[in-house]
């Protein structure tokens, strides 16, 4: 008897499903949902979920049942690549929002490219992500090589510095950033009184002595917060109050902790905007809080934006396909060629390699240990 009831209900469910005759299509997210960076990865997934909820009715009208499916890359390139292969084998997935880490994006997008699954990245900044010219890899954030010039512009424009001391941490990241800054500053006829590297993590006394002698108007440090924080602490203790500028390597609350009482007059450029910097984000933030019982951060907003780009692309491809589910290749083309509106971070369109034609870098200011937005800088990729 029980068995009959069960099979009857299964039949009924099947019948209902058949009656609506909907095709299921999926948007995937690929981001770290476990491990040390899961906080940021979960923001991306949740942001994308909000976009999917918002767009579901529009897809419904075309007879398409839209779903979000979240994959965990654990911030690990190998895991990300194997997840990408799983995504490629699920034919109902038409586009991917992800990843958080450039190191994961590079192999994952290569794995997805043969099956033409488009990615829209809310976070990857490494030049190589789009420099490979893959047809499926797009991003809505600024590139690393935009960061150096943006820092230099801030130094000359806002800080009005005529004399700058540049430091780097002797890594590919820090040296590259310092080189870009120096190039941009020299083009503006700013005097660069020093550009030197140091791997030192605790003793900056000789560098501080030189800075005291040279009296620069600003200091640029291409490095990571744990080293730069110690440097700033010792610099301030030596009585030097000169502004210190850096890149997104400083984007950590630990910076202020390490610099302690010296956490003043510090600026850094970053791609993930604080929510309050995005004018349209208030409703989004409230919605996020209500849905996930958690505070929305920059990566949540960018996950939402990236998902909207992907969904608008799928919709456009579906319309062009006579209101039927489009192919992956159609979606890929629609995203690369499209013009996307109604986003938190402004309108999006991509150049031929998938860089956002006009992106924004945010300059954050640390004052008394508190982080606040100083200004935002529009940036354009060199290739339009």
């Amino acid at each position: 008897m029980k068995k009959t009831a069960l099979s009857l209900s299964v039949l009924a469910a099947l019948a209902l499903g058949g009656a609506s005759a909907q095709t299921t299509i999926k948007l995937a997210t690929l981001s770290p949902l476990s491990g040390g960076q899961s906080d940021l990865g979960t923001q991306i997934r949740n942001g994308a979920q909000l976009a999917v909820n918002e767009y579901r009715p529009q897809f419904q009208r075309l007879g398409l049942n839209l779903q979000l499916i979240a994959y965990d890359d654990q911030a690990d390139p190998a895991t990300g690549t194997s997840q990408a292969r799983k995504i490629a084998s699920d034919r109902s997935i038409l586009a991917v929002v992800g990843t958080l880490n450039s190191g994961v994006a590079i192999p994952s997008s290569a794995a997805l490219q043969p099956s033409r699954v488009a990615l829209v990245s809310p976070a990857n900044t490494a030049n190589q992500v789009t420099d490979r010219g893959l047809s499926n890899m797009n991003r809505i954030v600024a590139r690393d090589d935009a960061q150096g010039p943006a820092g230099a512009n801030f130094i000359t424009g806002t800080l009005k510095a005529g004399k700058v001391y540049i430091l780097n941490d002797k890594t590919a990241y820090g040296e590259g950033l310092a080189r870009e800054v120096e190039k941009a500053l020299k083009a503006k006829n700013v005097q660069v009184v020093g550009n030197e590297g140091t791997e030192e993590k605790s003793d900056f006394s000789s560098i501080v002595a030189k800075i005291r002698l040279q009296r620069p108007d600003a200091i640029y440090f291409g490095g990571i917060y744990n080293q730069v924080g110690v440097f700033i602490k010792q610099l301030r203790e030596a009585g030097v109050t000169t502004p210190v500028v850096g890149g997104d390597g400083l984007d950590s609350s630990e910076l202020a902790t390490i610099a302690g009482a010296g956490a003043n007059n510090i600026y850094f450029t970053t791609v993930a905007a604080p929510i309050e910097a995005l004018p349209a984000a208030r409703t989004f933030a409230a919605n996020y809080q209500k849905t996930f019982n958690d505070t929305a951060q920059g990566f949540g907003a960018f996950g939402y934006d990236a998902a909207k780009v992907a969904l608008q692309g799928i919709l456009a491809a579906a319309r062009a396909n006579g209101n039927k589910a489009p192919t992956r290749q159609q979606v890929e083309t629609a995203i690369r060629r499209g013009n996307f509106t109604g986003l938190l971070s402004g309108n999006v369109s991509f150049n031929s390699v998938g860089d956002r034609r006009a992106a924004t870098l945010y300059v954050m200011n640390v004052e008394g240990g508190k982080y606040k937005l100083a200004t935002s800088v529009p940036v354009r990729p060199t290739k339009q």
Binding site: S202, A209, K233, T257
Partner: protein, 337 residues
């Protein structure tokens, strides 16, 4: 740039190097004491010293809201760090080195590196449980201020320093005073007490000292206790000087202090101090070489920036070892490795 601005700059760079040198010197003493007695390089000493720094951080953190005198807080931090690091060092010797005392020399050396790695992760776990990684010292008010600030009236030492143009922070002066006091106590302990005599006897010949009724194991434990306590002091000094420390901070200063001990002549107490001071000053001078290159227009000097300050220290070491293999103040002893 004229001489009037350059001269105080050079003087200050050298003064800063000496302050740094005292931190290295006290760490180096920990290496040299153990080596002198056991001919063992205690690579775990860098973590013993970081343990001292962590204890110092915890003391300052806990006492921060307490209105007690800053120097009293410093004393509590130093004593606590000495006790914890000293006992830790004794424990390490008992568990990791004593069972291997008759093994080939390479074996305890490898154990030492192993102990060092274990201690790093233990420290990280202990602080990690409380959500901390980079420990930032909260020093008593005033410690970070200038020693004898401009405009204030200074007497004695402060006045002398100001006339010469040396600009120090109060904590630099505290650091030097603590280092000198520790040196004086150590010197007294080793050269003037029965304990010191017994330690020296064991260092000279463990077997014969045993035949004379000296318990070699106890003396070795005492040496590790003293060496560890010095590590604790240097840890607190390191924390005060640089302001922040984490579980992995010990490696770099550990290697430099070890270099300092070898430079001075490993096993020699005055040698360790001299080696530390020399390395501190050399490091700071190499760190500013490019400024002179810039001022004098010598491109080759300009290229020597702060990233070379470590390499410079090691070049000095190599030169010393080529021309005086026993180190600056070491006595030749053919048997030592």
């Amino acid at each position: 740039m004229d001489l009037a601005t350059l001269l105080p700059f050079v003087v200050n760079v050298i003064a800063g190097g000496l302050v740094l040198g005292f931190v290295y010197a006290i760490i180096a003493l920990g290496y040299t004491m153990v080596y002198g007695v056991l001919q063992l390089i205690n690579f775990a000493h860098s973590e013993v010293f970081v343990t001292g720094a962590v204890v110092g951080f915890e003391v300052f953190r806990v006492l921060a809201p307490n209105p007690m005198n800053g120097y009293l807080k410093l004393l509590i931090a130093l004593v606590a760090a000495m006790i914890v690091s000293g006992l830790l060092n004794v424990l390490i010797e008992r568990l990791a080195y004593r069972p291997l005392r008759n093994a080939p020399k390479l074996v305890p050396l490898i154990t030492a590196i192993g102990v060092s790695l274990i201690l790093q992760d233990v420290l990280r776990i202990i602080e990690g449980f409380q959500g901390r990684f980079d420990l930032t010292y909260t020093l008593p008010a005033g410690f970070s201020g200038r020693f004898c600030a401009e405009g204030s009236s200074c007497a004695g030492l402060g006045n002398v320093l100001r006339t010469v143009g040396i600009d120090l922070q109060l904590k630099d002066v505290i650091l030097i005073v603590v280092a000198l006091l520790s040196l004086a106590v150590l010197n007294y302990l080793v050269n003037r007490t029965r304990l010191g005599k017994a330690i020296r006897a064991v260092a000279q010949d463990r077997v014969t000292a045993g035949l004379m009724g000296i318990d070699a194991n106890r003396m070795i434990s005492a040496t590790f206790l003293i060496g560890g306590a010095l590590g604790g002091i240097s840890g607190v000094l390191f924390g005060i000087k640089f302001g922040t420390v984490n579980a992995y901070s010990g490696f770099d200063p550990g290697i430099i202090a070890f270099t300092a001990a070898v430079l001075g002549g490993i096993g020699s107490i005055p040698g360790a101090v001299l080696g530390g001071l020399v390395l501190g000053v050399i490091q700071n001078l190499i760190g500013v070489t490019n400024i002179f290159g810039q001022l004098l227009g010598i491109a080759n000097l300009e290229a020597i920036d702060a990233s070379y300050q470590r390499i410079g220290a090691f070049i000095v070491l190599v030169l010393i070892l080529i021309f005086k293999p026993t180190g600056l103040l070491g006595k030749s002893n053919v048997e030592k490795v």
